[in-house]
Symmetry: C2
Subunit: 521 residues, 2 copies
């Protein structure tokens, strides 16, 4: 057995079910290995940003890593923007990056580059000197590293840079999976301190992120809130929140710094649970970067890598909140909207037609607007753009649909972001994935119009305006989708959009809706 | 005047004519500066791989850098694959990468990442600690660095990572351009040694790359060959060669190692002129990496950063070859092909219709096949895929067309590569660029079928075959082009293809031709 086969067998034994791949010549032995291990499903993507984004989606929906297969430095580079997002999401992932054998690197052939510097950018674990004898164990270790928290913003992405000689050389065989790493528990003192604080009667809030937004964590947080009156907050862009009717009601922080300060005004104690203190997404002249109300006391219950579920449950117990009833989102009837499309109408149509158990993936301003409206529609999982690198929603939706074939997936994409990784459509068509994509076709990097105005410029000059305008020419999203084999339609009115969303939710397979009308003009 | 305005004024004073941009919030002051300096043309691209590839095309065609404007780490990451190609091409380029102010980086906001490790991957010059007072001079220094050779494969790409505070803060004003750096001359001893070698009667060849493939260098090399009988070789993927009838006849090395060894068999002395010794593009078991005939003596006339034109001219003089007549490519009538399309027919149609002074950009196997056929058609500039990262041809064609609006541009793209950076079409449509794109739509990463067979596997299994097959579903390139506003048509026969090529070469603006038929099936 060669190293490649031993590696793939090992990763499959560990529990990796998907390899999202774009292979090249240096990975031919790995392709041969994938060919012989069908229990790991190999999925081809036409661009590596789709590979890494899809693996992110699988990680968020299953809590387990998917593998990616990337072709040397440039293949890896094409995947980094979505690796950045996945790092911010703390999604587990195992990248296999092909490379020349070490003895060939010195010849500096055209595809040679310093892959390690690229991988270091987003990896919590990295190895580039595997031999065929070590490769299987290295794979098992990469898998473990992706399930272990590493603190701060290091993320949970392991990258194995595999020389072709490690793949083709003789291996002693697959390695045994390592024991599953457990999250560290927070100490008793921390739980006691926070319980005391929350009992002091001052206006308080828990800021919940990552492990603290899992359903079990939110249930415990909901009981704590019911007992103490504290508010429950998510960050602006949580990796995954299972929301909607019946789920514990949590507020999501807004985007602009002034809005965050307004939303948190009056909070005198902020408790971090798997979270970091809120900061401004960008820096602005004369605007604070750290967004805490004046005099607000900050304390931490748990760090990102610690067991936030356990910490919250113990906190609830310490507070005597076991029997409390959490406040929950309620179901409300959302009337179908009418008339020409605008952002409000589109969001209403999304909410009115939201199917049960949907997975919503979004990297658009419109998607963010939709979030609060959808909390009263149907239970769902909401996956945000965690790292600000656009072009994430389509790939994450692709991965979520692979991982959860029984759940409808709804991708709410801006036209600017969707243009980045339009190749997602092809993988959705090839795999028959149940993804409904709604494109907010406002023909603009609209956030930049807003940001430019924040400089105090009331009217953009011709060149500046041209750099925010993606409407010259307009992208025809129905043709784009059709070019990749995905059926598509355009909606100009709310009635048309509602009908298309309903139809797409009922039918299997991918569908793309261009929501244009007069929106955003 | 703020730092951003001083920077853009400085870069324009240095001679930068284009900024290929995809801006974000951290670059709003830079957008404002571009808005106020219209002599630098701002061109929007929908994906950063198009920005960097277009800048590469401009650099190859003008010998001067274009600027790119990229949004923090992820924006830069999206551009790295084509930066890798541009590094291998020794194309001059100045990247401006936006970043948070230094005081904001510590807050670890979502878009924060280690941009320097990414930039280090391909940059010959990098600065990330500019202040508003230093930014203009830093820009002038970046410009100079991009025109200076740095030896080896360091390339000529300068990257200025610009904190937003450096952009918005007060500047003393634009910096004066630095003196233009000159290429070092090779010493007299080297010229004398090579002259002696070439006079010893042994079968010899010059391997010419980079500065040694410029027209003046090839003229001198042609005289040397006429005098000494040595062969003239280019590498497999030269950055730019101006070829065709009337140009000095140079052989191009083939791709596979066995082919290179066959092509160089019998050469007893190989002289490197701006080149490195030939090596195998990939490593294979039991195949040598360094591709020199047994016993071949290797010597160097000039390194990549040295003045190869001067070195060749002095060598010609030392050899008494000033009056020699170089062997040149001759014009031959290429008959229009007939019948159903296959690679041979397509290549013949390209050659038969090649317009005068065309710029040919290619990152496809078919494009490489076309190269020798086109040497007898019309004078042209040929820009190869220098670094092996596919998705380069469309962006480079976009840049070449921006830089040379009076010359027809022909992009010969594989369907696999074109899918990577399909967003090029949009910039071509927006700017009305005179680019004819021919897609070799063989529905396959066909090179991988060949490479897989080289492992000794006569038939790929189902999973392996699926990872090489991009035909399920077929990409409809006419719809893809149309979605971005580019007119397009499909050719199934050689007659249709010839008619479409002729029509596109006669009409201004972009056009896309999908060459499908039965090719590659």
């Amino acid at each position: 057995m060669n190293g490649a086969k031993a590696l793939i067998e090992t990763l499959a034994d560990c529990g990796i079910e998907y390899c999202i791949a774009n292979p090249g010549t240096s990975e031919m032995h790995l392709v041969q290995a994938l060919d012989s291990v069908p229990r790991m499903k190999s999925v081809l993507a036409l661009f590596e940003g789709v590979c890494t984004g899809a693996a992110d989606g699988i990680g968020r929906m299953t809590g387990k890593p998917a593998a990616t297969l990337l072709h040397l430095g440039p293949g890896l580079a094409n995947g980094i923007a979505n690796l950045h997002n996945a790092r911010r999401a703390n999604s587990p992932m195992v990248n296999i990056v092909g490379n020349h054998p070490h003895y060939h690197v010195g010849f500096d052939a055209p595809l040679t580059s310093d892959i390690e510097t690229l991988a270091r950018n987003y990896s919590c674990w990295m190895k580039s000197c595997s031999t065929s004898a070590s490769l299987a164990q290295d794979g098992a270790d990469a898998f473990s590293a992706s399930l272990r928290g590493h603190g701060g913003s290091k993320g949970q992405i392991a990258t194995l840079i595999m020389g072709a000689d490690a793949a083709w050389g003789e291996s002693p065989g697959p390695a045994k999976p390592n024991p599953t790493p457990a999250r560290p528990k927070v100490d008793e003192q921390a739980v006691g301190d926070i319980a005391e604080r929350l009992g002091n009667g001052e206006p308080s809030a828990l800021l919940l992120e990552h492990h603290a937004t899992t359903p079990a964590a939110l249930e415990a947080a909901g009981r704590i809130a019911a007992k103490t009156g504290c508010r429950l907050l998510n960050g602006t862009f949580p990796a995954r929140v299972d929301g909607g009717p019946g789920r514990v009601a949590v507020e999501r922080l807004p985007y602009f710094p002034e809005q965050v300060l307004a939303a948190t005004a009056g909070i005198e104690q902020l408790v971090l649970v798997g979270a970091e203190p809120p900061v401004s997404f960008f820096a602005y002249e004369n605007v604070p970067g750290r967004l805490l109300p004046d005099g607000c006391a900050l304390s931490r219950l748990s760090a990102v890598d610690e067991d936030s579920i356990d910490a919250l449950e113990r906190l609830a117990e310490t507070l005597g909140a076991e029997k409390e009833q959490a406040k929950r989102f309620e179901r409300k009837e959302i009337p179908a909207p009418e008339g020409p499309l605008d952002t409000r109408n589109i969001v209403q149509a999304i909410a009115a037609t939201m199917p049960e158990a949907a997975i919503v993936c979004t990297d658009s301003g419109g998607g963010n607007v939709a979030y609060p409206f959808c909390q009263n529609t149907a239970p769902h999982s909401w996956l945000s753009l965690t790292g600000g690198a656009i072009g994430q929603g389509g790939p994450v939706a692709t991965g979520a649909a692979l991982a959860c074939p029984d759940r409808p997936v709804l991708a709410l994409l801006g036209d600017g972001g969707a243009a980045y990784t339009n190749q997602s459509f092809w993988t959705q068509a090839r795999e028959g994935l149940n993804v409904t994509t709604l494109i907010f076709a406002n023909r603009s990097y609209n956030i930049l119009n807003v940001e430019y105005a924040r400089l105090g410029i009331t009217e953009a000059g011709e060149i500046a305006a041209s750099l925010f305008d993606i409407g010259n020419p307009n992208i025809d999203w129905t043709k784009m989708a059709a070019s990749f084999g995905v059926p598509a339609a355009k909606a100009d009115t709310a009635e048309e959009l509602t009908a298309l969303l309903k139809r797409s939710h009922q039918e299997p397979g991918p569908f793309v809706i261009e929501a244009s009308g007069e929106m955003g003009r």
